[in-house]
Each structure stands twice: as structure tokens, then as C-alpha cells.
């Protein structure tokens, strides 16, 4: 406790005692002096309150009794008399003594205190506070409760936030809150400081019912609260806010105790209900139902259609205000999202399924090549779309063969270099944002960059004098018709491999990069989308037309005056002090509708640098269901597909890299 505060309290108490004395002297002359009685009462009250706060328990105790007595006198419940007056005077002197020493030391005058206290009590006060003290001790045993809180519509006017009540309830244990509307008007008639909400809270707690109703202590008459015990123990074990039997309930009505109880007891009656048995079974066996993959594709297709239709419904419900429609639309949205997630996880397959083939390949090949190779696989429980896995197998096999053949040296050579004669190839997979990364690394010799350079010059792929960075040199291995193995072996083909690998991976919207370091090994890193049919994109608009850019291709967005863009003669613009080439998409797409004053430039990583794409407007993030383009558009590489927007229009999905390449090579050929 702060010393300054204690000093303040003591000074105040002494002032009050002086006031008390004055009032008491008045009373001595006229026992019926109402003002004096009130003054005594208020002084006692204030001393009592403050003394309690500052630890002066003895002061608090004695003033408490006197306060009650004077309250009764003030309220004409009893008469003032000489005895009371004498004892009050005595108390006054006693208070002065009590306040002279720190509270802890006031033990010394205990006997005097006890005597006086007894005297005060003998004045015959019925102390209501004292009788309340015996509280029932309820055995702590956890139980599940149903609590329905329906705040009166005026609760907000009293300064109470009903949400805090729910929070306070949920702090008591584990539970979920199921809000519902109560007499919700249409939005035009909505009054902001009127409450239209009710809450049903299912709570498992070891606290007593008293503790639960204690939450509502401030609002007893502002809320209709029903607390009913659903049963002993935790009935909410497998229930979460996201996964409960009432997830798609009608939010215009409370569920009611009976409905909740029957749903919960049904679920809990046999500890392992039907759904739980299924869950357990699936946990033990990953796949116990075989589904024709065509059927699965069909399902995915239908889900995609549903997502599109749902988006339209959401848009329609936004445009037509109807509380009922909003509820339906939101419900459909929730269900659709869950269905979509469900369906997509269904088509995800762990990489494990192809690892067996790799193990086999490694053991066969290492024998054939007379190498000792250990194959390790990490993160093979990483799941990825089955159609991606199908297309990934060949490139992976090829990369693996390459590592075994070119990467890992033979045991004698490894010994000479001081390495473990046994080489290691590691296949590793993990999630990275919305991507799955698959890495194949070896601890072999690494890629000899000088040899790549020579080869490339020999094959006429680069000029003898050209300056290439390490990265550019390494990337040459992906150029068609390139092979570095001095001896062409049966194993890793004849240099037709790496370019095909790259193409296969790009086909499934993935990218492959390679890092290598001499004598330490080579790592191929393949970055893949989780699924092929859903794309997180940035929706942009040029004129009246919407386009979608994959979010993965977006580095940063800038706002630039359209006039600035038009006035450049070499298609460069300065962004954050950096000169950046840009493409004015409205010109490239021959969109002639009126130009906005401000244009948006989206910076897209390209060839190790950045290229800006200028559009009119950025609408925002959009999760799109990708649809392939009809065969008339098959040659238009710059569009990887299309998607149907909520309002029914079609947006083309831009393949930023191919688009830039196409447009820049066009420019180049024009110049040449």
C-alpha cells in the first residue's frame, strides 16, 4: 500500500473524527437533531469504508456496528438514547488510539477493543451482514449445464454488454455458446441500443449452480436466465463451437433445454456412438472405402458448381434485404464451405502412396550402379491432390534417378573425399502456406557449374563470352537437349529428362528450382499447389472486365496516376525508388473503356526481378474455382483458365509468368 495514500486516509479519518465530535456535542444538547444524526452516520460510514480498504480491521469492525445503529436511528427505526451517545463518545477516543499505530500493531489494545465492541453490540443490533456469512459449501463435481440467457431489450441502456456475460460463463469451464435472435426486426427498424440477442450456453464446469448464477449478479432483473443441469460429467466431449449438432440450426429461435438434452444424451448414451465408432475405425485404417476416382471427380465438379451458385445466392441476398433470406444464405455459405473442404480433403492423398515405388527404385538402381545408397523419406504424411500426385510421380522418379546416377559418387570416390561411403538421398515434403513443397536432396558431388558452362557453349545454348550467374547456369539443366553425364547411361536417359521434368511440374502449376553446392550435394525443390481446382487469387478489373491473378504471383500493389503510366515512353515506372518495367494491360487487351484517374500496378516476380502489371482497380482476394477454357482458347497460354464470379460473369485467370513472357517476347521480336 502506498504510504501517501495511507497518510491521506489518516488525515481524512482525523478530520472525520472531529466532525463526529461536533455532531455528538450537538446531540448531547438535542438528541433529536436529525442533521447531527445524519452527520454521525455519514462519518461512521466513510471511516468504516476507508478503514476496511486500508487494513484497519478493528476500526472497520467497530464503526460498522455504530453505522448500523445510526442508520436505524436516522430511518426512525429506533430512538436515540443516552447509552448510545456515551458509547459513541467512547468509541471516538478509541478510534483515535486505533488510528495512531499501523493496523498490524493495534493488537496491543485488544482487550479494550473487545470490551468496547461488546458494549456496542449490547446495544442490540440485528446485524444482517453477519448472518449472511455462512455460505454453503457445494461439493465440486463437474456437471454440464444448459443456460439460456435472454437479455431484456433494454439491457444495453444500463451499460451492460451481454457478450461479457457469455464470456464470464465460458470462463467457468468448457462450453459453447449458441446465440439466437429474438424478435429481430428488418434492418430499417433496427434500434442500435436495443438488444435482439439471446444466448444458449452449454457449459461443463465443476463450479456450483450458485457460481453460474453469480455471473448474472449485476443483471438479475435485466435478463431472463434459465439454468438447468443437463447431466453429470462432461457431455460436451466431442462438441466444439465449429463442430456441434446444432451448427446449422435456425438462429431465429432458441433450441430449448429438451432438444439439447436429447441430442446430448443420445450422443453420450453409449460412450461410443455410431459416429464415434466410424471415427475410430477411420483413425485406425486410413482408407476403408474404395471410390472410383471418376466419381470423386464428379463430386468435386458438383461442389465447384455449388460454390459458384452459393456465391450468386450471397450476392442476391446482399442486394435484397430480407432477414430470413440472409439467414438462409449464410447457412448455405457455411454448409458449402464445409462441404467444399470435406470434398477436397477427400481427394487428398498422402505422398506415402508413391514412396514404395521410390524405395524399390533406389534399391534396384544402387545395385546396378554399384553404389551404396540409403533412401530416407520425411513428411510423407503430407497430403496432396491425387491428380497432382499422379502427375508428380514421373518427374519425381526422374529426379531421383538423376540424384542416384549423377549426384551420388561411387563408394571409392566418396572414401577418397572423406565422405561416408554410403550416400544418402532424402525425399522430404512439407506444407508451406497454400503450397506443398517436395524436396529431393543428395549428399553427392553437386552440379559442376563449369562443366555445364562448357556443355552449353558446345551445344550452342549460350555464347562463349556470356556472363551468367550461378543461378542461370544451374537453370540451364532444364533447357531442352542438355545432358551433363560424361557417359550416357541407361539410367538417366539421354538428356531428354530435365526439360520434361520442368514442363510436367509447370503443367500442374508447380515450379521447380535447384540448389547445388560442390561436394555437398544437390537439392531439387518442387513447390506445388494443394489442389488444382481451387485458386486463391487477386481479382482485378480493367474497364468492365474482371481478371484473376494467382495470389502466389502477387508481390506488392502500388497506386499510380494513369497519366504517369501513359507518359512514359519506355514502359518503366519508378516504384519505391526502384525502376520497374510495367505492362499496361488495358492496351495489351485492347480495352478501350474510359480510364480511371488512378491505376493500380501489381508487382509480379519474373525472372529474378519484378514486372508491374497495370490494371484499373483491385477488387480484392477471391477464392476461385478454376474451370478449363474451351478448346478455342487452348492456344492462349497466358490464360490458365476461367472462373465464374458471384454475379455470373466469367473472369479469366491470368498466368502472370506466361503472360509477361509472351508480351515481352512479342516486343523483342518487334524490335528485331
Amino acid at each position: 500500500m502506498n504510504d501517501r495514500l495511507i497518510d491521506t486516509f489518516l488525515a481524512e479519518a482525523h478530520e472525520l473524527i472531529v466532525d463526529l465530535e461536533k455532531a455528538l456535542l450537538q446531540l448531547e444538547n438535542d438528541q433529536q437533531n436529525k442533521d447531527a444524526i445524519s452527520a454521525v452516520f455519514r462519518a461512521m460510514h466513510t471511516i468504516k469504508g476507508a478503514a476496511g480498504m486500508f487494513g484497519y480491521a478493528a476500526v472497520n469492525e467497530i464503526t460498522h456496528h455504530l453505522e448500523s445503529i445510526y442508520q436505524d436511528i436516522r430511518d426512525c427505526k429506533r430512538e436515540m438514547n443516552e447509552a448510545i451517545l456515551r458509547i459513541t463518545f467512547k468509541t471516538l477516543d478509541h478510534l483515535r488510539i486505533l488510528l495512531q499505530v499501523p493496523p498490524a500493531e493495534s493488537v496491543g489494545n485488544n482487550s479494550e477493543h473487545a470490551e468496547l465492541l461488546q458494549a456496542v453490540q449490547s446495544l442490540g443490533v440485528i446485524d444482517p451482514a453477519a448472518s449472511v456469512k455462512t455460505k454453503q459449501v457445494v461439493e465440486a463435481e463437474s456437471a454440464t449445464y444448459y443456460i439460456n440467457v435472454l437479455p431484456k431489450s433494454n439491457i444495453l441502456k444500463n451499460g451492460t454488454n451481454p457478450l461479457y456475460l457469455v464470456d464470464d460463463l465460458l470462463v467457468l469451464g468448457n462450453g459453447i455458446s449458441l446465440p439466437y435472435f429474438n424478435d429481430l426486426p428488418v434492418i430499417d427498424n433496427l434500434v442500435p441500443d436495443v438488444s435482439y440477442m439471446g444466448f444458449e450456453v452449454l457449459l461443463c464446469t465443476d463450479k456450483s449452480e450458485d457460481d453460474i448464477s453469480g455471473v448474472f449478479i449485476f443483471v438479475e432483473d435485466l435478463c431472463d436466465v434459465t439454468i438447468k443441469k443437463l447431466g453429470k460429467g462432461n457431455l460436451l466431449k466431442s462438441i466444439t463451437a465449429e463442430d456441434n449438432p446444432w451448427y446449422n440450426r435456425n438462429e431465429l429461435l432458441p433450441l430449448g433445454f429438451e432438444a439439447v438434452q436429447s441430442a446430448l444424451t443420445k450422443k453420450n448414451f453409449n460412450k461410443t456412438s455410431a459416429t464415434e465408432t466410424v471415427r475410430k475405425a477411420t483413425a485406425q485404417k486410413t482408407s476403408n472405402i474404395r471410390v472410383n476416382s471418376d466419381q470423386l471427380d464428379d463430386l468435386m465438379n458438383l461442389v465447384s458448381e455449388l460454390v459458384t451458385t452459393q456465391a450468386r445466392l450471397a450476392l442476391f441476398s446482399n442486394q435484397n434485404s430480407s432477414a430470413e433470406l440472409d439467414v438462409i444464405s449464410e447457412n448455405i455459405e457455411k454448409i458449402t464451405r464445409r462441404l467444399r473442404d470435406n470434398a477436397f480433403t477427400m481427394s487428398l492423398v498422402p505422398l506415402e502412396s508413391i514412396v514404395v515405388r521410390f524405395q524399390r527404385l533406389v534399391s534396384d538402381l544402387s545395385k546396378e550402379l554399384n553404389k551404396e545408397i540409403e533412401f530416407r523419406a520425411e513428411g510423407m504424411d503430407t497430403k496432396i491432390d491425387k491428380s497432382i500426385i499422379e502427375k508428380l510421380t514421373d518427374p519425381l522418379l526422374h529426379l531421383l534417378r538423376n540424384s542416384l546416377d549423377h549426384g551420388i559418387e561411387n563408394p571409392a570416390e566418396r572414401k577418397r573425399k572423406g565422405k561416408d561411403p554410403k550416400g544418402t538421398v532424402l525425399l522430404k515434403s512439407y506444407y508451406s502456406g497454400a503450397n506443398v513443397v517436395v524436396e529431393i536432396s543428395d549428399d553427392g558431388a553437386g552440379i559442376n557449374l563449369e562443366r555445364i558452362r562448357e556443355k552449353a557453349i558446345n551445344k550452342g545454348l549460350i555464347d562463349a563470352g556470356s556472363q551468367l550467374s550461378e543461378r542461370e547456369l544451374v537453370d540451364l539443366i532444364f533447357v531442352p537437349g542438355f545432358s551433363t553425364a560424361t557417359k550416357v547411361t541407361d539410367v538417366s536417359g539421354r538428356g531428354v529428362g530435365m526439360d520434361v521434368v520442368k514442363r510436367n511440374i509447370t503443367d500442374i502449376r508447380g515450379e521447380v528450382t535447384v540448389t547445388t553446392s560442390p561436394e555437398r550435394g544437390t537439392t531439387f525443390i518442387i513447390r506445388l499447389p494443394l489442389t488444382l481446382s481451387i485458386l486463391d487469387g487477386l481479382l482485378v478489373r480493367i474497364g468492365d472486365t474482371d481478371f484473376l491473378l494467382p495470389l502466389t504471383a502477387v508481390a506488392k500493389c502500388y497506386e499510380v496516376e494513369t497519366a504517369t503510366l501513359e507518359s512514359t515512353y519506355n514502359q518503366w515506372v519508378t516504384l519505391e525508388g526502384k525502376r520497374t518495367p510495367f505492362i499496361f494491360l488495358r492496351n495489351e487487351f485492347a480495352i478501350t473503356q474510359s480510364k480511371p484517374h488512378l491505376s493500380q500496378i501489381i508487382n509480379v516476380p519474373f525472372d529474378g526481378g519484378h514486372v508491374g502489371l497495370a490494371v484499373d482497380k483491385i477488387i480484392g482476394e477471391y477464392q476461385a474455382v478454376l474451370k478449363p477454357l474451351g478448346h478455342y482458347y487452348q492456344k492462349n497460354d497466358e490464360f490458365s483458365g476461367a472462373t465464374i464470379l458471384g454475379n455470373g460473369t466469367v473472369a479469366l485467370v491470368l498466368d502472370a509468368n506466361k503472360l509477361i513472357r509472351k508480351l515481352t517476347t512479342d516486343i523483342k521480336s518487334e524490335i528485331v
Partner: protein
Amino acid sequence: MSKTIVVIDDSESIRELVGLTLENAGHTVAKGVDGQDAMRLFDGREVNLVITDLNMPHMDGIGVIREVRKMQGYNTVPILVLTTESQTSKKEEAKAAGATGWIVKPFVADKLLAVVKKVIR
């Protein structure tokens, strides 16, 4: 987050104690020595909570509640009253006037902050 809290008590020590406790918890405190004096604090500033004593000269706590509930812009501010256990009837009266809740004296800092947290977040 810091909130602005109006504390009204005629006892300087209680006022300072409550003020200090709230300030240490990061809140901004405006103090009034009684109900009448406190009225000047409702001058358009943002007030997130009012804590008032009940027994005060000039204007008591009930008066404060009634006045604040009438004021445009402050009519839904939570109001906590400082009471003692002996004042059950006062508590009822305060509630009827529009008090949000109460803090029973004596209280320790933690309890004060817990009750404050109960009504503002």
C-alpha cells in the same frame, strides 16, 4: 486497452486509492469529490465507466446515476456503485436508477479490477 473512468467519492483516501489502482492498471481516471462536482466531468469526453460512492453530500450516488442516465452520449455508460454489505436496500435503489453493478467495500485491488473488467473490456 486504456479506458477513461470517472471515480466519484467524497472520501479522498478512497478516491485516491481507487484512482491509483485503476491508473496502475493503465486506465485514465477523472475524479469528482461528490455527485455535483462530478457533473463537470461529463463534458463530452469519452467515458467508459463511472464508479461512484452512494453516500455523498450535495448529490449522492443515486443522483449521479439518474443524471448520467439522462445525458445524451452517456446514457449507456456502465456505472458501478461502491456499497457496503449493510446497504442492500441502497443497492436495489441504485439498480433501479440504472446502475450496472456494484463493488462491495472493503475491496482489494484485484477485486476492483475484476469487477471493472466485468463491465468494460
